[in-house]
């Protein structure tokens, strides 16, 4: 019982503080992970907007006109281009969340998880969601 008073200094691992976030460099899998969260919260917050779109697009032919004009003439004080921008943000969030989710389920089911695979699938997730968002964005704004 000699070493009870003299304890060795142990390493302390604390949570990352908000102010330190920028200085941490995340690997691709980490970027996918945090964006999975961000996109989920975005869709949660914009859920009433999505249901409003669902509502006006389905209720009647007249309300359907309001639905399509929302992206041209705008809604209230919000211009049409802004509505399109919000829609595009939702499109990205959906695509990223979808693909990142498929990646998750695939990893859960196959158990084939390695550092290299995780890296490649993370890059594929980021790339695929970006390319699809770009394509749908071009369609939304220019065609």
């Amino acid at each position: 019982m000699a070493d009870t008073t003299q304890t060795q200094e142990r390493p302390v691992y604390r949570n990352i503080h908000v102010s330190q976030i920028v200085s941490y460099r995340l690997p691709p899998a980490g970027i996918v992970s945090i964006l999975h969260r961000v996109s989920g919260v975005m869709m949660f917050l914009l859920l009433p907007f999505v249901i409003w779109l669902f509502d006006v697009s389905l209720t009647s032919e007249i309300s359907y006109e309001r639905f399509s004009s929302a992206f041209v003439a705008g809604v209230g004080f919000l211009p049409g281009w802004f509505m399109k921008l919000v829609a595009l943000a939702l499109i990205w969030a959906y695509l990223h969340h979808f693909i990142a989710g498929v990646r998750h389920v695939w990893m859960d089911m196959t158990h084939s998880v390695s550092l290299a695979q995780g890296r490649v699938s993370a890059l594929v997730t980021l790339g695929a969601s970006a390319v699809l968002t770009l394509a749908l964005g071009l369609k939304l704004f220019f065609f």
């Binding site: 969260r37 989920g40 919260v41 869709m43 949660f44 859920l47 009433p48 249901i51 669902f54 509502d55 697009s57 389905l58 209720t59 032919e61 359907y64 979808f98 989710g101 498929v102 998750h104 389920v105 859960d108």
Partner: protein, 120 residues
């Protein structure tokens, strides 16, 4: 019945961790399949306008499927948002308030969506 005393006593959680983990995946797969089903109906057929769009949600099977997906979304988003609050919000009172807000928000949204679906 499972032994729950002595050395076999359960000392952690109520096992909702595994249940929620599984539920989040099952509901995700359901919503993904719904996306594909809806996308197939939107992409193939005549020019998309009010007629065809409302016809998609007028069929009884699509209405039931959409209802199931609304409930799945409710549960899925609840598990996800609860995770977010648990990870980032420490004070118990604030966490509880945010969780109550999340539930009210989601149940409200689900109710609205169901109303839209069934007055068609």
């Amino acid at each position: 019945m499972q032994e729950n005393f002595g050395s076999k006593r359960l000392v952690v959680g109520a096992h909702y961790g595994l249940r929620d983990w599984l539920a989040q995946r099952v509901t995700a797969v359901l919503m993904a399949l719904f996306t594909l089903v809806l996308l197939a109906q939107v992409m193939f057929g005549a020019k998309l306008g009010y007629e065809r769009w409302s016809a998609i949600f007028s069929s009884q099977w699509m209405r039931v499927l959409t209802f199931v997906v609304i409930v799945a979304l409710l549960y899925h988003a609840w598990v996800g948002m609860r995770d977010v609050w648990m990870d980032y919000v420490k004070p118990v009172a604030v966490k509880l308030a945010l969780q109550v807000f999340t539930l009210a928000w989601l149940v409200g949204c689900a109710g609205w969506a169901v109303q839209v679906l069934w007055r068609l």
